[in-house]
């Protein structure tokens, strides 16, 4: 299921980029097209920043999310000001938008981790049962 969702997202991204790239040839760069490319640019930038953060820093989960939240908010703020998404009067909305995304991501992360831990512990119990059965049933002979 996870693979299907991931592949769907990748396919949708390729379709959006292709359709909008072709649209540029017909109608030039409109506001909507520019927004889509800006969003892709921001996504790329955030992915690189988060990847670099994950490979360099190892923190407890709550601190990790907090630092990532600040980092992502800064990137979105700077990017948003450069491309003209925000004004001085409404920049605080960035904190709200990013907080909502992070809360959802944190909850999802907790659920996935809980499920993975249960899965591993279940396999460990099965292994223990299998090992004890193998020992009981082993029958050694020399030909």
């Amino acid at each position: 299921m996870k693979k299907i969702i991931r592949d769907t997202c990748i396919l949708a991204s390729i379709m959006i980029l292709t359709v909008f790239a072709i649209s540029i040839l017909w109608s030039g760069i409109t506001g909507e097209i520019l927004l889509v490319f800006e969003l892709f640019g921001l996504s790329f930038l955030l992915t690189v920043v988060i990847h670099a953060f994950d490979s360099m820093v190892s923190l407890p989960i709550l601190y990790c999310y907090f630092v990532k939240y600040l980092l992502v908010t800064c990137v979105v703020l700077v990017f948003g000001f450069i491309v003209g998404w925000f004004y001085r009067s409404n920049f605080w909305m960035v904190f709200l938008y990013v907080a909502i995304v992070f809360a959802a991501a944190y909850l999802l992360d907790m659920l996935v981790t809980q499920r993975d831990v249960e899965y591993i512990n279940e396999r460990l119990k099965e292994r223990e049962r299998a090992d004890s059965t193998s020992v009981d049933k082993s029958d050694r002979s020399v030909v």
Binding site: S58, T113, D116, Y119, I120, N121, R127, S138, D139, S141
Partner: protein
């Protein structure tokens, strides 16, 4: 499980494994056989010792030095974590944090502790901190597709 041994002269040691289906238990046995001859040389203050993969509980880096832990001994290992990872590909050993490679053969349980931390409890009751980032890699070792 049946264990049959027979003497065949002028032949190298040959192990044939017959199985009804290639399940997790069989794959673990095959993994152990394949790495029977893999070992690491560890140094303690008085001596050097050759330690087989199945005896290793975990490797840990402390101040850029690599230490090898068995059930109740600690050895200094002259090598890097990257070299260990390369040598132990397709074994039961897996990286569980930036500083630790654990042998899941000795893993008893994984627990979620306060602050959403994870810890692995080994069969000698020793506890190791597990980074959530590496949890999918540990899970992969226990999936039947392996």
């Amino acid at each position: 499980m049946r264990i049959i041994t027979r003497k065949v002269e002028n032949q190298p040691l040959t192990i044939i494994v017959e199985y009804p289906e290639l399940d997790c238990a069989t794959q673990r046995i095959l993994g152990r056989i394949e790495h029977l001859e893999t070992s690491f040389v560890g140094r303690s203050e008085e001596r050097s010792a050759r330690i087989s993969v199945s005896e290793i509980y975990y490797f840990e880096t402390v101040d850029r030095k690599v230490f090898l832990y068995t059930k109740d001994e600690i050895y200094r290992f002259d090598g890097s974590m990257a070299q260990i990872e390369e040598a132990l590909e397709h074994t039961e050993l897996v990286r569980v944090s930036r500083t630790c490679i654990m042998n899941t053969e000795h893993l008893k349980e994984i627990r979620q502790i306060k602050n959403s931390h994870l810890e692995a409890v080994l069969d000698n009751e020793e506890k190791i901190i597990v980074s959530r980032k590496y949890l999918p890699d540990i899970k992969k070792l226990f999936t039947s597709s392996r």
